[in-house]
């Protein structure tokens, strides 16, 4: 048996069900791993050690429950998801002391499935950033190389999984915030179709773009977590009431990729890729061909407009969503305000960090009278054209494949000075959110130059996560393993 904390979620789940290990042993091993690695990685904003131990003991007292698909499995949740009675800061000082009175639906479903919540993962403040250096508390480091960033904004979730602190984590993805850290940390990350997973209890950034998804050390693990969190929720009016297929069963339906057509968007492969990323992704596509997949070139003509479209829509929605932080019902309130308006202004100015303020101001600007049509409405129109672009491409193929990011994880501090430069890192991931389609990152090896993990991005048709997962599962089994970070 491999060391407990090196096991995948699927392996530990089986060991728990077979009573080879107890929930208390698994939880204790994870907590010890956190103690040993957290000073270096800094992935977690809070750890619920006592609660986790107590729950594990009570689970052990009644024994494994086959009706609970994640029975006894320790998991971590991004700090943007509401957890009842447990701090939920969104990586911001404005919510430093906030303890929600309810669980996000995705969190509640994990708990109902028997999972044990270990801690809350660090993130860029309000999910605004691509490196997790933009947390108001501390920066998270990449477990593969502590001088590099883990990606963001779900960098804490990516790092905690890659460091073996837990068996899976929830992240959220507005423009690539699950797929980028999954790619940089060498793990699997899924952004489901918009509407697949309830957003109830997720503190909103860009409401029409945000989705919650799993980050894990294997495709099967991700399928198991997605199966638990997916499905309609009456408390989120944008969650869609369509059947959820059995993702885990779907994985065993395929041993090869015969009959599958993979579209390769020229715009994602042609320009600006670092040689090591191009090489690793091309090798994975070649392997897919060997396994029987057919590849076809496709066009996503509007890719060059995606970043502009995305940042207009995302900041507009953010400026509305973050208006709720006013120092009245929760969150930071300034001391000794002169009057009500002064209280709003000072509480917000003291509570929000620099990038958040920049995006609120930009969002307010693109929504303001005189600029609304030129920016926000225009972007919403281009968004429809981008979706049509994807729809035509996905008529010619089943899944799109390309890199998650033009480079592997970059060095700490490299992206902090120029906001536009940081926005450009999302070039391959944001269109998926604009179109509302499912996407994922699959580790396909280490870059020849940096030795850092490379992620291949797969994008599927709306609500067709199963086919994307099948393809990833077959590729994962047939590619040389990327391995685990050595810490």
């Amino acid at each position: 048996m491999p060391e407990l904390t090196q096991m995948t979620l699927s392996e530990v789940r089986k060991a728990l069900a077979d009573k080879t290990v107890s929930a208390a042993q698994v939880t204790q091993a994870a907590l010890l791993r956190i103690d040993a690695t957290e000073p270096k990685v800094k992935a977690l904003l809070s750890v619920q050690a006592e609660e986790a131990r107590a729950l594990a003991e009570s689970l052990d007292a009644t024994g494994p429950d086959p009706a609970k698909p994640l029975w006894g499995v320790p998991l971590v949740v991004k700090d943007v998801l509401a957890t009842k009675g447990v701090p939920t800061t969104c990586g911001s000082k404005i919510l430093e002391n906030f303890r929600p009175v309810y669980d996000a639906t995705a969190v509640a479903r994990l708990k109902d499935a028997g999972a044990i919540l270990l801690g809350k993962a660090n993130m860029d403040e309000f999910a605004m950033g691509s490196t997790t250096e933009n947390s108001a508390y501390f920066a998270t480091k990449n477990p593969w190389d502590l001088d590099r960033v883990p990606g963001g904004s779900s960098g804490g979730s990516g790092a905690t999984v890659a460091a073996g602190q837990c068996y899976g984590a929830l992240g959220t993805d507005t423009g690539g915030s699950i797929r980028l850290p999954a790619s940089f940390c060498g793990i699997v990350g899924i952004k489901p179709t918009y509407g697949r997973v309830s957003r109830f209890g997720m503190v909103a950034y860009g409401s029409s773009l945000d989705q919650i998804g799993p980050m894990t050390r294997s495709v099967e693990d991700a399928a198991r977590m997605l199966a638990v969190i997916a499905g309609h929720d009456e408390r989120d009016s944008t969650s869609v009431n369509v059947p959820v297929p059995d993702y885990v069963a779907a994985l065993s339906e395929r041993a090869d990729l015969k009959g599958l057509t993979i579209g390769l968007p020229a715009e994602y492969w042609d320009k600006g890729l670092s040689p090591e990323v191009a090489e690793a992704c091309a090798a994975a596509v070649k392997k897919a061909e060997e396994l029987g997949a057919k590849t076809v070139p496709v066009k996503l003509n509007l890719s060059q407009y995606a970043i502009a479209t995305y940042y207009i829509i995302a900041v507009a929605e953010a400026s509305s969503n973050l208006a709720r932080f006013d120092g009245v019902r929760y969150g930071h309130r300034t001391s000794a305000p002169e009057n009500l308006l002064d209280m709003y202004v000072k509480s917000r100015t003291e509570g929000f960090g620099d990038e958040v303020q920049r995006r609120i101001i930009l969002g307010t600007y693109v929504l303001s009278s005189g600029y609304y049509d030129a920016y926000y409405r225009k972007a919403a129109q281009v968004r429809r054209l981008i979706r049509q672009d994807f729809e035509s491409a996905l008529k010619e193929c089943d899944v799109l494949a390309g890199p998650v990011c033009p480079t592997t994880a970059f060095k700490v501090g490299q992206m902090t000075s120029d906001p536009l430069q940081m926005y450009l890192m999302d070039i391959f991931t944001i269109s998926t959110n604009l179109a509302g389609l499912p996407g994922m990152s699959l580790p396909v090896g280490l870059g020849r130059e940096t030795g850092m993990p490379v992620g291949l991005q797969l994008t599927g048709r709306a609500f067709d996560e199963a086919r994307m997962l099948q393809m990833a599962h077959v590729l994962e089994k047939n590619l040389p393993p990327t391995g685990l970070a050595k810490l």
Binding site: R329, N339, T364, Y365, R384
Partner: protein, 94 residues
């Protein structure tokens, strides 16, 4: 698209944020660059394209208007910066 420091100050006020003079200048420069990048959308002809505000077509989901008490008042108030035990307290308005 250039954005002047005066415009930044005006939008900051609308956003209920207070910026130092130094920050206003810095934001004007950065936002000018970002907006300049966004201006490339003007190249595209979008006449007669219906704006897409969400990927989900279901616009309004109706449910019965029933009173539910999911949370206790005292629990809700626990997160408030100032309360009198029954209400949120804010600085005097009138």
């Amino acid at each position: 698209m250039k954005i002047s420091p005066e415009q930044v100050a005006k939008v900051a006020k609308l956003s209920r944020l207070e910026l130092s003079q130094e920050k206003i200048g810095q934001y004007a420069e950065q936002l000018g660059g970002i907006l300049g990048y966004m201006d490339k959308l003007a190249e595209l002809d979008t006449q007669n394209v219906e704006p897409m505000y969400t990927p989900v077509d279901q616009v309004s989901v109706m449910r019965d208007d029933v009173v539910r008490k999911d949370y206790a008042r005292e629990d809700i108030l626990k997160n408030a910066p100032e309360t009198d035990g029954a209400f949120f307290i804010v600085p005097r308005i009138v």
